[in-house]
């Protein structure tokens, strides 16, 4: 882990539990997209460890009371990766398991991109890239104003960082010392038209955020221990917003998807591909 130091030593039972959970989430992701006949597996799988750690360890939420004012907030700014979010919310009991079969279908709470107006637990709509961090700033500012101690987590895609609005929000978050705001960049190095290095180079990415006066944690975002340590450190109130640059593998956990730009979206997981995917996920360490 690079960047800021993390102080905690996390216990191995917790990591073990979260790793198991992440497998269940990954399995749900591929099943959902298989059933739907379309969707975005690559960016859902790369973010599965991060979303699992947040929802099954860190976040203060109540499935019985999704609009609880003191809850921690999560914004899936890279909204296309919503299958990972829907899986986590379903595991937590926000939705019946049968909802997983309705992804992208007419009348489903699991819209092609998240819709807060019809989906409990979805703290903000998303799907148009580049908006989420601004909205996170708004939530974090009001947390301070109302003296509530919730934390706002915003998950960003690396391609998404091409949008100028992300950097407008980053500047603003530092101005207001939003230490109740944690951004996480899913640095899987792929977007739709190819590798981020080709479409729009981002490096040195940590330095960009540091130059915007953020605390920066650079980790392996598919290593549960590092994910947990980084979130633990980032959520500490230190007078500045924090960003975790999570180096991940797009499609993580499914052999034929890993690092493959074509598995961003637009491809079908047929029956035989589903079987391979589920085997890979169960077998993976």
């Amino acid at each position: 882990m690079k960047g800021q130091k993390t102080e905690t030593k996390v216990d191995s039972a917790l990591i073990e539990r979260l790793e198991q959970k992440a497998k269940a989430i990954r399995a749900d992701i591929v099943k959902m997209i298989h059933k739907a006949g379309e969707g975005h597996p690559g960016g859902s799988l790369s973010a599965a460890d991060i979303v699992t750690a947040l929802y099954f360890h860190f976040m203060r939420i109540d499935p019985e009371n999704p609009d609880w004012e003191d809850r921690d907030r999560f914004i899936m700014s890279k909204g296309h990766a919503c299958p990972v979010w829907y899986s986590a919310l379903t595991e937590l009991g926000f939705y019946p398991r049968s909802a997983l079969d309705t992804l992208r279908k007419l009348g489903s709470p699991f819209q092609g991109h998240p819709d807060m107006s019809i989906s409990p637990g979805v703290d903000m709509s998303a799907g148009s890239l580049g908006h989420g961090l601004s909205i996170g700033v708004g939530m974090a500012l009001m947390g301070k104003l109302d003296k509530r101690d919730y934390t706002v987590y915003v998950l960003l895609g690396d391609g998404e960082l091409n949008e100028g609005q992300v950097w407008e929000a980053a500047m603003c978050a530092a101005k207001y010392h939003l230490d109740n705001l944690v951004a996480i960049v899913d640095y899987n190095r792929l977007q739709i038209d190819g590798p981020t290095d080709k479409v729009m180079p981002l490096d040195p990415l940590g330095d960009k955020w540091r130059a915007f006066n953020w605390r920066v944690f650079e980790i392996d975002g598919n290593d549960m221990t590092q994910v947990v340590e980084a979130i633990e450190a980032a959520r500490k109130r230190r007078g500045l917003p924090s960003v975790i640059i999570a180096n991940t593998l797009k499609g993580k956990g499914v052999s034929y998807m890993e690092g493959q730009v074509d598995w961003h979206g637009g491809k079908v997981i047929d029956d035989s591909l589903l079987e391979i995917a589920l085997n890979d996920i169960q077998g993976g360490e």
Binding site: R104, Q111, S128
Partner: protein
Amino acid sequence: MEKIPTRIAYGQALAELGEENDRVVVIDADISKITGTHFFARKFPERFFNVGIAEQNEMGIAAGMATTGKIVFASTYAVFASMRACEQVRTFIAHTRSNVKIAASHGGLTGTTDGVTHQGTEDMGIMRTIPDMTIIMPADAIATRKIVRELAEHQGPAYLRLTKIPMPIIYDEETDIQIGRAVQLRDGDDVTIIAIGDMVIRALEAADLLDNNGIRARVLDMHTLKPVDKGAVIKAAEQTGAIVTVEDHNILNGLGSAVAEVIVENRPVPMERIGLRDTFAESGEYEELLEKYGLNTRHITEAARKAMGRKL
């Protein structure tokens, strides 16, 4: 029937155009595989620019490129072209009368299962309020190819609306398609159905159904929403005495509004409008969405009967 998404026809046409005209440059925002511009990119990598997921930047860059005498085709989805980058388009492409052709995929409900964030259902209305903006939505791949060629010759800003999903081919290569001129696809004198883009095929189907019941409907493909073909509208009002408009778009400020403005000022006749009734849609299959939101063939025939029933 052969079906092709008009976004793909657009991309293929661009690749051909690039060969003949080296002033053509193309810019995209990380969705060239989807907008079809990858066909051009592969052939002319030096005249293709991928600016990443940054549509505002894209439109600003396009305006800058156009100042050097280039014909700029700028692609993204309809929602992002018309809303994310609206001011860049309005002030720096339209007001400057820049030679930028904005090609926007996922027009209307063709955004289907992606849901509201990817369904451009207000884009034509937004574009229509911008002075000097030409707005076109071709009905099929053949019309799209012809329009792309026309656009290369056309001076000034234009907005080309395209479909995500495959559209049946309704034209043949001989059809004459020109910017600003409606195409009459069926003649009739009981009622006129004026449609645009992916709704043209529905209008034809509706006309066939009406015909089975002895009603002769004229069908106009109003592919150019702006400037709307006033002559064709006035003629339809005079000769058929009732009009139905059909668009895959919010009912506000699209084709229905444009046609209503013409007939109110020139030749008032009963008129019915088919379109989204000032609502957002949702994720779903195209056919399901058309049915739920009242844009299907049977909705058109009902509207035609209603408009005819209101004749004085």
